[in-house]
């Protein structure tokens, strides 16, 4: 009984380390192939459209909604202490430091990461990647790189959109509905925000989350079992693993960056 448990733990650890090794090798191959010509501009633009432009509405609406909720909650809290003029700071810090990058990354994982895994997984199941290998075309180069690069570039851009719309949402509630002074909202926000730590930190997070989403979703696609059950398992794995990695990485970056 105890031995069995130790056995299982050992096997799980080995599997974990093995997959860590595999994903590192895969990441190395992706980076190597990204730097190697040709740059497949047309395919990259197609991916940017699919992953970025088509995610605009979900990211935009979520950003606005989250900003409005934070604005409302923040006002209700601050007004008790008579410091509702600090609403801009309240909304700004929660959005820029945490909610902006994290929520954008989680939404993108569900919206674009899972789709990428499912697409590549279906290509594995229908032997399209084997077909490429037979033509001596590296699937990492032709299939993975445009998608991974697309996801990587799109994450910080959409994070910026989320943050701007969330700040606007907070403004809308605070100034438009609750009557906070517009000058105080913007002025206090500007004064409190420190560009090199807060704003740059936000984008550091967004870049790292972009790496995680693009790496995990393409890796899960390429290593997917070649059947429909495999595709569905890989898609689920992408959402679960990428979300967890994002949240854990968020803590580590916050701790190290010293927000």
């Amino acid at each position: 009984m105890v031995l069995r448990a130790i056995d299982n733990l050992g096997a799980a650890t080995i599997r974990f380390i093995e997959s860590l090794g595999a994903i590192s090798l895969f990441g190395g191959a992706v980076i190597g192939n990204t730097l190697r010509p040709p740059l497949r501009t047309r395919m990259l633009i197609k991916e940017l459209y699919k992953q970025g432009v088509q995610s605009l509405s979900i990211i935009g609406i979520s950003g606005l909604a989250v900003g409005m909720v934070i604005g409302l909650q923040g006002y209700n809290t601050l007004v008790r202490y008579g410091s509702e003029n600090q609403l801009g700071v309240f909304v700004g810090f929660s959005i820029v430091l945490e909610l902006g990058p994290v929520l954008t990354a989680l939404l993108l994982t569900g919206r674009a990461g899972s789709a990428t895994t499912a697409e590549i997984g279906t290509m594995v199941a229908t032997e399209q990647l084997d077909g490429l290998r037979m033509m001596s075309i590296n699937p990492v180069n032709l299939v993975v790189v445009p998608r991974a690069l697309g996801l990587f570039l799109v994450t910080p851009l959409l994070t910026a959109l989320f943050v701007v719309l969330a700040l606007f949402g907070g403004y809308l509630i605070g100034v438009g509905m609750m009557g906070v002074d517009p000058g105080a909202y913007m002025g206090n926000l500007q004064e409190a925000m420190d560009f090199p730590t807060d704003v740059v930190g936000c984008f550091v997070k967004a870049f790292i989350f972009g790496c995680l989403i693009s790496l995990i979703s393409t890796f899960r696609g390429v290593t997917c079992a070649p059947n429909s059950a495999g595709v569905s398992a890989a898609t689920t794995a992408t959402v679960v693993q990428a979300s967890l990695c994002i949240l854990i990485a968020d803590y580590i970056i916050t701790a190290l960056w010293g927000f």
Binding site: M123, T126, E127, Q128, D130, G131, L132, R133, M134, M135, S136, I137, L142
Partner: protein, 301 residues
């Protein structure tokens, strides 16, 4: 055609210098073979799929691989393409032992291979034209109009219209997918063409047409062709050489010899007339008794 990796492929001469093959009996491989299996074992997911296969595929000839469903025909082709590695044994393709090659070292070997997959394996995000043009764009420095004329020529060859080039794979019928896959396999004029069930799902006229096409490119370009097929009639018309995979053993030889084989399973596989089965079926239906697929099993096992 200027293959970027042609320079390195000179290291691998077409003659089978690397093989010290002995001439086995009828199940063996010989020196003139373009592809040779020596005691190859393959395990997939803890199951032995191919057991101790020794056979050869003669250069410049059409070999048809026959066998029941699940007998390992597709696996054989995937082995030759280096998509799966054998558990043990030696596998020589165009003079190179590929049984333990890294993907990088496989590149010059694969440059000599064209493969048509059972399901087509076309890239579904690009249209037919781009699918066929892909190997040319990736590996040659041909200009766009050269590529255009080459691809269009290839499309006509397999009996498709130029306008079909604009369709996406999901807009094609099953037979058209097969023809596009074939076009993509032969566009680089490889030495060896591997075709997985090129006739299944095609109407008799297209089947004949593809048969003729196989004969034609085999004659004109001297390609070695390996064709997996279920169609006995087409097999006997096409094959210069036959490989029959059965659960317990494999047999190879010229078709006219194998037709007269004493093994009833081989006879069954190669029989072009199915009357016997229909008579049996009629009888079963007459007696109104139920029958299962097992009653016709003798054909395959």
């Amino acid at each position: 055609m200027r293959w970027r990796f042609r320079a390195s492929s000179d290291m691998f001469p077409n003659t089978m210098t690397g093989v010290e093959a002995t001439k086995n009996e009828r199940t063996g491989a010989s020196d003139e073979d373009h592809i040779a299996f020596h005691n190859v074992n393959v395990e997939l997911g803890e199951r032995m799929v191919i057991r101790n296969l020794t056979c050869g595929f003669p250069k410049g000839r059409i070999t048809v691989i026959l066998g029941g469903s699940g007998s390992g025909k597709s696996t054989t082709l995937r082995l030759i393409g280096g998509l799966i590695a054998p558990l043990s044994g030696k596998l020589v393709v165009a003079g190179t032992n590929i049984s333990k090659l890294s993907p990088r070292k496989l590149v010059p070997v694969r440059a000599k291979l064209g493969m048509m997959f059972q399901g087509g394996a076309l890239l579904d995000s690009t249209n037919v034209f781009d699918n066929i043009a892909l190997p040319l764009r990736e590996h040659t420095r041909m200009k766009e109009d050269e590529i255009r004329s080459e691809v269009n020529q290839c499309l006509t060859r397999v009996g498709l219209k130029q306008s079909d080039g604009l369709l996406l794979p999901r807009e094609l019928s099953g037979g058209m997918v097969k023809r596009v896959a074939l076009a993509r396999a032969i566009i680089t004029k490889p030495e060896i063409v591997l075709c997985d069930e090129p006739f299944s799902g095609l109407d008799p006229i297209t089947t004949k047409r593809i048969e003729l096409l196989f004969k034609q490119i085999n004659k004109e370009l001297g390609m070695t062709m390996l064709i997996v097929s279920h169609d006995a009639a087409a097999t006997l018309r096409l094959a210069d050489h036959l490989l029959i995979l059965m659960p317990d053993r494999s047999v190879q030889g010229p078709p006219d010899e194998l037709v007269n084989s004493s093994d009833p399973r081989i006879k069954n596989l190669l029989s072009t007339d199915v009357d016997e089965d229909f008579v049996k079926l009629d009888k079963i239906l007459d007696t109104n008794a139920g029958f299962g697929p097992g009653d016709l099993e003798s054909t395959w096992s």
